[in-house]
Amino acid sequence: MAKTEKVKLPSWKEVVIGGINPDAGSAAKYNSGTWRTFKPVWSDERCIQCNLCWIHCPDSSIMIKDGKVCGMDLVHCKGCGICASICPVKPKKAIEMVKEEK
């Protein structure tokens, strides 16, 4: 999981033109999961390791280790809820959306 970097921002003479980002995968360096209302809570016990959540997540926020789901990347998850919606486990899903308490 990435940490939030605190760096001195570049001047207008230093930034890459046109808002172009030549640094592939740079989102890994930033905490972009700050505006979530609901967070996915994953249950290791109920999970059947079908990986449907990993396939459907639009933000690579389903963490995988050795081919198995091992948790939710809450630094990047926006809380869209697709993973919980797609989870086929019954009667209680392996991923549930829970309101963020702040």
């Binding site: 207008w12 930034v15 890459v16 033109i17 046109g18 172009i20 980002n21 030549p22 592939a24």
Partner: protein, 393 residues
Amino acid sequence: MSKKLLALTGNDAAAYAMKQINPDVVAAYPITPQTSLMEKFAQFVADGELDTEIVLVESEHSAMSACVGASSAGARVMTATSSQGLALMWEIVYIASSYRLPIVMPLVNRALSGPINIHCDHSDAMGIRDSGWIQLWAENAQEVYDNLLQAIRIAENSDILLPVVVNYDGFIISHAIENMYLYDDAEVKKFVGEYKPKYTLLDPKKPTTFGGFDLPDYYFEHRRQMADAMTKSAKVIADVAKEFSKICGREYKSIEGYKLEDAEVAIVALGSTVGTARAVVDDLREKGIKAGLLKIRMFRPFPENEIADALKHLKAIAVLDRADALNAVGGPLFDEIRAALYKKSTIPVVNYVYGLGGRDMGLLEINKVYSDLAEIAKTGRAKDLVTYLGVRD
């Protein structure tokens, strides 16, 4: 330097320039008076004379969007439009410049609706004056051709990377046939060279993101960079003109005076009206009246200091605007020239809004401007700051 003399319309001249430039991608939608330009260009492509990929789209919004996509992918890209077409692509016009995509666009100037009208004025171009596009203006078909060939080199310069619009008057230039010179294919090909993009979407070894969200911590810096590129482009435009003079035989300037050095009164104008005003100046000179003329070829970047310098010796100045800003203080060219002269001179400057929606601007009207100027020069004061010239009272 080899050239051949041909009789062509302004649109033919633009199509011929595009043929010699041989862009990788052209995405466009037909609109009067641009239509015959794209027809001619599409014919060249259909005849197999060049290998441009033409993207036929369902609107100008899509045309410019396709241009942005193709240019981001590293292609040399052109399009063309007029009036409402430009109005419809307006949103993407700003995207193109902010992504620093060197797209080149002939803009066949036509009045904006409404009421609906298909004839010449400059309201379309003035609507994008603050969009970050470099603006060149042509006086005749020859300049359409010459400006387009130079525009490619200006836009693609790695220190600039801003799109360029080449303006020319709808119908008056686009559809009138004039004698003009075309240059040798090989010479033009060598001059325009090959576009080597700085960043491209289609390089899997160097993946890049175009169009990322630019929050308050970066947007301002990117806009500041655009302003810097616009400032720097003035020198690049001059350098390109110098190099191009080896092909065309004359060196284009950002502004061009006509009998201006010893003039007492002068008109400042854009586009084909400059040609008409030359005839009036010649006529007045024969009568011993010291009339002069200043043509603005490069409107963006705005050559403030050159203009102030070129006009400093005059006794009275009239700025002609073929577009009204409807702001109660005159047309857009007038506003900027007055600002350029602020604190640098006390010469009276007046504005004439003329030719809206294709209203003729003839020798008679221009003569009236010079006779007003003679009066202002004599008395040192102007009766009216802004005059609507050629409107029925």
